[in-house]
């Protein structure tokens, strides 16, 4: 019997990983804006999940629990990291680290703002907003989570989440529009 559990242990964990790691990695990527760091964070989040399985209440949706762990972890890490970044690098900005993306979706000049340009606009907006706005926006827009579940993951009220998502969406909207109106020369280039 113990053998069964011991085997089931890792197997079940592997299943959890297979099912959710893309979501977690995507969340982390939007959160920190750096692919390598996002993947490190994702690994740490799953290790943490494994170790903190006992705090999971089967009454909560697993995805909500997972994103609570993920958000807390990312918030802690980013706070620690930002302190360092602020004091060491100022020139890294010009490289516009932003969000790296895998593979180029072929450029579609017919679309106003697509692919990498859109990615950059969204990345810049995300970077400029508060961490909680960023977390709420990411869970809402990229994971399709309901406000109520986001509230649970962020340990906030639904009213607070509504306002976080609104501010974040407006910020992204303005950044995207800004790039769009400025992208006329970019279009004539193509």
């Amino acid at each position: 019997m113990m053998l069964k559990v011991a085997a089931g242990d890792r197997r079940a964990f592997a299943l959890l990983f297979d099912r959710y790691h893309v979501s977690v990695a995507r969340f982390a990527l939007r959160f920190v804006g750096d692919r390598e760091r996002a993947e490190e964070l994702t690994q740490d989040i799953f290790v943490k999940l494994y170790r903190n399985a006992k705090s999971y209440k089967p009454t909560a949706k697993f995805k909500t629990f997972l994103f609570r762990v993920a958000t807390n972890h990312c918030l802690n890490e980013v706070r620690r990291g930002e302190y360092r970044v602020e004091h060491t690098s100022t020139e890294a900005q010009e490289d516009e680290g932003g969000l790296e993306v895998a593979g180029g979706e072929g450029d579609r000049p017919d679309q106003a703002l697509a692919g990498r340009e859109l990615e950059r606009a969204v990345g810049e907006a995300l970077k400029a907003m508060s961490e909680r706005e960023r977390a709420a926006f990411t869970m809402c827009r990229f994971e399709g989570m309901a406000y109520r579940d986001i509230a649970e993951a962020l340990e906030a009220s639904e009213a607070a989440v509504k306002s976080l998502i609104h501010r974040a969406t407006l910020a992204v909207a303005r950044k995207v529009e800004e790039l769009q109106t400025g992208s006329v020369p970019a279009r004539s280039r193509a």
Binding site: G8, L15, A102, G103, E119, K162, H166, T169, L170
Partner: protein, 156 residues
């Protein structure tokens, strides 16, 4: 900006407003050009998110996470079991490792999606409860069976 309805527009676009408030916002939208503009902007933005490039995490991550788990210090449960019956449990651990290996090597590139049933996941999420003998609130029958049969390992 100054319109008091503005702050509800994203929730409106997301279909997250309670029916009564939703109706109010709808009525207001009919007569407020500012909010109409904002609503259109929000809808465009939400729709444009689909145009972001897909992100595929590195396939090496799975192996690396599992390696990190192997490197974790043993839990109380594991230490206890090792103390109780090393001659039985060492081969058992070996078998478990083999079973694990078989799983990981069988389909390294194809994630085992949708296989996870609720029961397995729940068991997975409760494993540390079992291993730490922290049985308060345990409801899963199988978990209880594990706890109940622990003494057999001692006797045999």
């Amino acid at each position: 900006m100054s319109c008091p309805y503005e702050e509800d527009l994203t929730a409106y676009v997301d279909g997250e407003l309670a029916p009564a408030r939703r109706a109010e916002v709808e009525t207001h939208l009919g007569g407020c050009a500012g909010c109409q503009g904002t609503e259109a902007l929000l809808r465009r933005t939400v729709a444009s998110m689909a145009g972001l490039p897909e992100y595929t995490p590195s396939p090496a991550m799975r192996r690396e996470v599992l390696a990190k788990l192997d490197a974790l210090p043993p839990t109380l449960g594991e230490r206890l079991r090792a103390l109780l019956r090393p001659s039985v449990l060492v081969p058992a651990a070996g078998l478990a490792a083999m079973a694990g290996l078989a799983l990981y090597t069988a389909a390294p590139s194809e994630p085992v999606l949708e296989v996870a049933d609720a029961g397995t996941l729940e068991l997975a999420m409760n494993l540390e409860v079992v291993e730490d003998y922290d049985v308060v609130g345990l409801e899963n029958g199988e978990d209880l069976e594990v706890i109940a049969s622990l003494h057999e390992l001692e006797v045999r």
